[in-house]
């Protein structure tokens, strides 16, 4: 029995080390977005919105309190950073909201929300109106 506890601790420590390494890798790839995205995941800010049709989209509650829409099928986020750093400057490959969506998919930590087909249309269209 005495030998079991150190083994468990060792296992836990090595898992933590792997997690820290993963974290470092994320930061290396995505810079400061990685920390911010993990923070969004921690705060459960990502909602997967689906309708009976099978179509779905993501909404991310940003740190400023604004909600952004990310499309599930292709790389798109409605935030200004995506428009500027990704589309205009090509400095980044994605914004923190998209990274948070991808991370939450892997970690299965999305909030789920079912809406009607009509409501999903309005959510997608609203994005357009906000920009205008």
């Amino acid at each position: 029995m005495a030998a079991v506890l150190p083994a468990v601790v060792e296992q836990l420590l090595s898992e933590m080390a792997a997690a820290v390494q993963e974290n470092a890798r994320l930061k290396f790839l995505f810079g400061s977005s990685a920390t911010q995205a993990l923070d969004l995941v921690d705060r459960q800010s990502i909602t997967l919105i689906s309708s009976p049709s099978g179509r779905h989209a993501y909404q991310v509650l940003g740190s400023s309190g604004k909600t952004y829409t990310c499309l599930a099928s292709c790389h798109y986020c409605s935030c200004p950073a995506f428009a500027f750093s990704v589309l205009r400057k090509s400095d980044s490959i994605l914004c923190k909201h998209l990274l948070a969506v991808y991370l939450s998919q892997v970690m299965r930590t999305c909030q789920q929300l079912s809406v009607s087909d009509k409501q999903l249309t309005d959510i997608l269209l609203m994005e357009k109106k906000q920009e205008a």
Binding site: A57, L71, C74, T121
Partner: protein
Amino acid sequence: MAETLRRVLTRDGAAWSGEENTPVAGPPLLLLGAPGSGKTTLLFAAALEAAGEGQGPVLFLTRRPLQSLPRGTGTTRDPMRLQKIRFQYPPSTRELFRLLCSAHEAPGPAPSLLLLDGLEEYLAEDPEPQEAAYLIALLLDTAAHFSHRLGPGRDCGLMVALQTKEEADSGDVLLLALLQRYFPAQCWLQPDAPGPGEHGLRACLEPGGLGPRTEWWVTFRSDGEMMIAPWPTQAGDPSSGKGSSSGGQP
């Protein structure tokens, strides 16, 4: 999507009629060319080709009805195929957004190919890059939703035609870079002539990914029929086609 267009351009018609397995839709394709370079004709030929593949209907979006059906590229203009092409004419960018955002509410079988002619007309109304990106992302999302409805192993392809200007300004360069981000496959129609005294277009198909680039020589007969032949340099030596990417492609 490049595969459907390749078939249209390669045009060994009979070999493809129906018995093929369900083709893979492949990445979204952007068709680029100057005014009058035959984009609509090619798009329409691709619609007919896809309608003949024994799949779902084809959805053809364009701002206004075609004046006359393009003379085609030799594709059989079988009425059965024509019936499977559903035309819709969103009159404004706003209406196009509405159509794409509500695509999942539309009843009936999901299309196996989504086509949009004249993207530049919709973008002209609101040339903000983010607006353009959202429109394009919604086109991809709509095609992805149709693929989902078609079920496993079947995909809805996406093909979009954009008119290019002779002299691109910085805004156009930005827009093109944005489009290339979302459309891995491209087909360029450029004025060119393989020999003196000949006038026509060079069609370059870049299927995206690791696929080889292929080129064709496109001319229009006086009756409007589109004539397509392999690009002459390829005829003698098939291996030279892959390396001939120095052809002044932007």
